[in-house]
């Protein structure tokens, strides 16, 4: 069963026109997929449809079997508890420590306190910041802040990690670190869908690539790969010789 399934999805914003049309694809368990395309092509829109911030205007999106068309607010909340979401701007709460930021995700879903402590410790170690738990966001570098945001996304054991340009605000070095972290998370079994402008990252790996243009899916390396290779993607049949 696919974790995420788009079937003929169109999204039209009330003020802003058609952001997505005729989009169909599936994301499978353990998969890593890049979402790429020019600015305004609909990458964030696809991700918002997955975490049900937006609902499709036509077609339907299923996330772990829940249809975005019929999902109640409560169901949307329940779906989100199985998703991890990361943004370009980190979205940490400035007034509390890294630990408290991560714990927040569990507190608001009613997890018992001792389990919170244990899980927060685990994900902090996983993102390599076990020693920075008590730091405030402003005391951390951009890369570190993004790792804390990723830790917060992981703490609920999501089956899909959704990342909207997670390296967009980071320099080259921090970008590599954060990207490697996402790969490790994927290797450990979590599916990852990541929107990015960074063609370098895409070229470095053999991961699936979905390309958008003007709200249309113009290329998907998982679908019958075109004879003429899309410039920004690497077909999955090729093995990357030297990843990273």
């Amino acid at each position: 069963m696919s974790l995420v399934r788009f079937l003929n999805v169109a999204k039209e914003y009330p003020r802003g026109g058609v952001a997505l049309s005729h989009a169909s694809f599936q994301l499978h368990k353990g998969e890593f997929a890049f979402l790429t395309g020019p600015s305004g092509s609909g990458k964030s829109t696809i991700l918002k449809l997955i975490y049900m911030e937006e609902r499709p205007t036509a077609g339907d999106v299923w996330v772990s079997g829940v249809s975005a068309r019929d999902a109640s607010r409560k169901e949307v909340s329940m779906v989100r508890r199985h998703l991890g979401i990361v943004f370009q701007d980190f979205r940490l709460l400035e007034d509390r420590s890294a630990e408290a930021n991560i714990a927040f995700a569990l507190e608001v879903t009613g997890t018992p306190a001792d389990m919170i402590r244990q899980r927060v410790g685990r994900v902090l170690t996983q993102v390599g910041l076990a020693s920075k738990g008590t730091a405030l966001p402003r005391e951390l570098s951009g890369g570190e802040q993004q790792r804390i945001a990723i830790a917060r996304a992981l703490v609920n054991d999501p089956f899909v990690l959704i990342a909207d340009e997670p390296t967009g605000n980071l320099d080259e070095r921090a970008t590599r670190g954060v990207f490697q972290l996402l790969r490790d998370i994927n290797t450990a079994g979590t599916a990852v869908i990541m929107a990015t402008h960074d063609l370098d990252l895409i070229r470095r790996t053999e991961y699936r690539t979905i390309e958008l243009n003007h709200g249309r899916l113009v290329y998907d390396s998982a679908e019958a790969p075109p004879v003429e290779k899309a410039p920004s993607a690497v077909s999955p049949s090729h093995h990357d010789e030297n990843p990273i």
Partner: protein, 281 residues
Amino acid sequence: MMVIREAFSAFRRAPLLSVLGVVTIAFSLFAFGLFGLVAVNIRDALQTIENRVEIRAFIADGTPVEASSAAMGDIHAFPEVLSVTYVSQDDAYARARKELGEFSDVFEPGVLPASLDIKLKPGYRDPTTVQAVANRLKSYDFVDDVRYGEDWVAKLYRLRTIATLVGTGLGVAFAAVAVIIIGATIRIMVMARAREIEIMRLVGATNGFIRMPFVLEGFIQGVMGGLLALGLTWATSTAISHSFMRTEFFDPALATAGVIGGAVIGLLGSTFAVGRQLRRL
């Protein structure tokens, strides 16, 4: 538990904003309370005057006491009547001397007629009822004349009607302004935590769960603001009583209603503000 902790942690994280909330509620309700104090005191003053509404039926000279006492029983049975008092000629003379003080010589004993003084029950002191009772009294043979100060009873009632209308209008306006100011303050407090709400939603907190700490916080602030306003109003009332004129304070029921009102405004204000914020995101 988490809800209560979150509500209190809001005070801890943004004490200034929380205090601002309490103070805004307090001052809005205080303004309303002062208005209420004036209204209550005017009402009491009018009530005191109204209590003096009295119908005096003068008894013709030479009426046997038995006749008038028999009538007293009848009159007391009127549904509007609170009390009937027999005032003899001597009593009337004594009363006149007392009331007129230095001019007490103008009357000779025996000049003033005896009378039945009738007080009406509360709610039956309006001009129409007073007049109706007066007319019924006139129908007794031994009654010479009936007086009830028709002019001032009518004036009193007009004053009361105006006071009630103006009071209700101003009261509604004051309450509306208080609610608007408190609502705006609560909205600022909720907006200051928009990011928190946004993240709560992203990690799958239900709307009910998100709303709860705000609602609880609004309630607590409403109660605190209400109590503070009550304290301020009481202090003002006491100060005026001491240095100016005796004033009545709200009775306990009204005071409690004020604090409950504050709590309800706080509660509803934050419920609406969060609802709005949840819809915006």
